[in-house]
């Protein structure tokens, strides 16, 4: 009995088993999401043509001869996302550059929590702000220039969504820019380059995989963002190039299909899962690419703080 404490061994094994079960639950969830969406989506595609879903231009649920062509929905999502990225990427990246390269330690310690606050604001709050402050502001501005803007304009959603994504991009970019070794900066400065030239020509290219990764993460976040668009974008599946017009998005249609009083097995409801599946696949792809890039970056510069 000297080297054996069997009771201990027993509890040890039980505890270990518990840990393994916990870890398994964590993985199961991803598949639970995938399967719960896939099954309902399959049911939808048994009722409606998959081909029309991805190529059709008319989305008219809830009526006798309902049609489910998702192209205008994808287009709306795309438009709002593009506007959001046009705002978030340059501003987020430039903020990160200033914080990591120019700001003194004190200023940095002051600014970083402020950006964290921006990141911690719930999206419903952004939605309220988009619907009640930015959208009317845009309508007024457009009136001034004799343009007609909708109160549910894609522009208002895009701008607010872009602002929401700024901290996502800036905080990850800040991390990767700071991870670029100082020896790179010194090498460039010793060649007679000034700080600006060094950042543009040496630091940013070195940090590029991380910056792209941050951008993809922001993109995935924009595509899946719900509250801002539910509150400030339109419901109408509207195929247009005009950002001042109202447009709808994948997430808006998902919410709309599921809060109505339709039977659960009707195509109206199930269309939400078909759209959900598209969203899942696209964001998963973006996330995987983004995570792979950041892992490569970490290996290259041997950092594990990211």
């Amino acid at each position: 009995m000297l080297f054996k404490t069997s009771r201990n061994q027993y509890t040890e094994n039980i505890l270990k088993l518990l840990l393994i079960i916990a870890a398994t639950i964590s993985i199961i969830t991803t598949f639970a999401i995938l399967f719960s969406i896939i099954f309902e989506a399959i049911e939808f595609f048994e009722m409606r043509s998959f081909w029309y879903f991805i190529t059709g231009t008319e989305w008219s649920p809830g009526i006798e001869d309902s049609k489910f062509g998702a192209v205008p929905i994808f287009a709306g999502t795309f438009m709002i996302t593009i506007i959001a990225m046009l705002i978030a990427v340059p501003i987020g990246l430039c903020s990160a550059i200033y914080m990591s390269e120019y700001a003194s330690h004190t200023i940095r310690n002051l600014l970083k929590p402020m950006l964290e606050i921006l990141a911690g604001i719930p999206t419903v709050v952004y939605g309220f702000f988009a619907a009640l402050t930015i959208a009317p502001l845009i309508v007024e501005l457009c009136e001034y220039f004799n343009l007609e803007a909708s109160f549910n304009s894609a522009l208002a959603c895009g701008i607010v969504m872009g602002i929401m994504i700024i901290p996502v991009i800036s905080s990850l970019s800040d991390d990767v820019i700071r991870a670029v070794p100082d020896s790179q900066r010194r090498a460039s400065l010793a060649l007679g380059m000034n700080m600006g030239e060094t950042i543009v020509a040496v630091v940013l290219p070195a940090a590029m995989p991380g910056i792209i990764s941050a951008t993809l993460l922001g993109l995935s976040k924009a595509l899946g963002e719900t509250m801002i668009v539910v509150m400030a974008a339109g419901l109408r599946a509207n195929l247009t190039w005009n950002p001042l017009d109202d447009m709808t998005t994948v997430t808006v249609r998902i919410v709309d299909a599921l809060v109505g009083d339709h039977a659960f097995d009707s195509p109206d409801t199930l269309s939400a899962f078909a759209l959900g599946l598209v969203l899942f696949v696209v964001t998963l792809l973006l996330n995987v690419i983004s995570l792979t890039l950041i892992r490569k970056f970490k290996q290259k510069y041997k950092v594990n703080t990211l």
């Binding site: 911690g120 309220f128 800036s170 594990n304």
Partner: protein
């Protein structure tokens, strides 16, 4: 770098091309600075916009009018107040007249001057907001103001009542209770599973393909759009398991799945930062692996785990999209008593109010946002404080 340079003809360390180059660099720096200032400027604009919109909601207008209690007015409560002011008092208050008489029978057949909660239109008019008061009522209100028969009181109703279709009677209490119940479910489910997963991955699992697969999975889970968790909740918890729709139980479980990866990732980082020599010291004393982890490694990692959990909690607290999908945006006037009853949460309440047509709800929405943001910022500040306080440099 950008100092002013005077040129001497014989200076070998200056040439004109440098001037252009430095100018470009300065412009670049200014661009980055203005981006940052834009973000901060937005934050300030945004917060002040919310505060300006929301602050008036913390005060509510009361008006002083005569109230008649008799048989007739108990039956038809509108008549308790003089015709001129009838439309100016809150309908909700009028509805309480029969109850008031039951509570205090002495009131019967009396006529008293009382401070009564005003109708939301009166409230909005006196606060200088947009309103739909008819001109004749405006006249009456102005008369009241002239006689000092109106005043603003702290809006206690906002904190002590649930949602209502009558704006001046709407409060966030039931949403706060709903949030608390939901988050209790979330943390009870997510915290142990996440911590155990983190311990397993960090302390026990060998670095093989399986572990890498789990790792990729968890990182992915953290980046999946939140609305998809709602689809999961709807398809699995409600349709498959038959759990009650709109309940804090379903909401809590859905949010728990969302919070899992956040806690796992931060807990792993905390465990990883505990140096190996602590573990080796434990083994050196003949402790088993579980004992080492339980008694030595985990206590040291605990502040980090807590920080991650608080951040996860704050994120779950502000989440709306998946809860809409599982029906937690219903109209809930009474606070839920159990996790099986229909409930709503704070962000969902904000969402509902934001969609209301009456102008009075705008300030309610903004006030709700102020309450929510105050809680969230305090939670985050707490997390930052914990991180700083227990930050150990190994």
């Amino acid at each position: 770098m950008n100092k002013k340079i005077t040129i001497y003809s014989e200076n070998p360390f200056y040439d004109k091309s440098l001037k252009t180059r430095h100018m470009k660099a300065t412009i670049f720096k200014m661009v980055t600075l203005s981006s940052l200032l834009f973000s901060l400027g937005f934050l300030i604009f945004f917060l002040s916009d919310i505060v300006i919109k929301g602050l008036p909601a913390f005060q509510q207008t009361y008006i002083q009018v005569d109230v008649t209690y008799n048989e007739k007015t108990v039956k038809s409560t509108r008549k308790a107040v003089n015709k001129e002011y009838r439309r100016l008092v809150s309908r909700s208050w009028l509805r309480t007249i029969p109850q008031q008489v039951i509570d205090n029978p002495n009131l019967m057949n009396t006529k008293i001057k009382l401070w009564i909660l005003a109708d939301d239109q009166v409230d909005q008019y006196l606060k200088g907001h947009h309103h739909n008061l008819k001109p004749k009522y405006i006249q009456s209100v102005d008369n009241l103001v002239k006689n000092n028969a109106t005043k603003l009181r702290f809006n206690i109703i906002f904190f002590t009542r649930g949602d209502s279709k009558i704006p001046e009677y709407a409060g966030i209490k039931s949403a706060v209770i709903g949030s608390i119940l939901t988050l209790i479910v979330t943390m009870v489910v997510a915290f142990p599973i996440a911590v155990m997963t983190a311990i397993y991955l960090e302390e026990f699992a060998a670095d093989n393909l399986w572990t890498q697969f789990i790792e990729i999975n968890i990182n992915n889970l953290a980046a999946i759009p939140s609305i998809l968790f709602g689809l999961l909740g709807l398809a699995v918890f409600i349709n498959l398991f038959g759990l009650p729709r709109s309940s804090p139980l379903v909401g809590g479980l859905t949010l728990a799945i969302m919070t899992l990866p956040i806690i796992i990732i931060s807990s792993r980082a905390a465990l990883r930062s505990v140096p190996d020599n602590i573990r080796q010291a434990g083994y050196g004393l003949g402790l088993t692996k579980i004992q080492v982890v339980k008694d030595h490694v985990f206590p040291l990692a605990f502040p980090g785990v807590m920080t991650g959990s608080i951040i996860g909690l704050a994120q779950a607290m502000g989440e709306t999209a998946p809860l809409i999908i599982i029906g937690m945006v219903a109209f809930i006037p009474d606070s839920p008593n159990s996790i099986m009853q229909a409930a709503t949460v704070m962000p969902a309440q904000i969402f509902t109010w934001a969609g209301m047509p009456e102008r009075a709800y705008v300030e309610k929405t903004a006030a709700g946002i102020m309450v929510l943001l105050t809680i969230l910022i305090s939670l985050n500040a707490m997390a930052i404080y914990l991180r700083k306080k227990f930050e150990v440099k190994w």
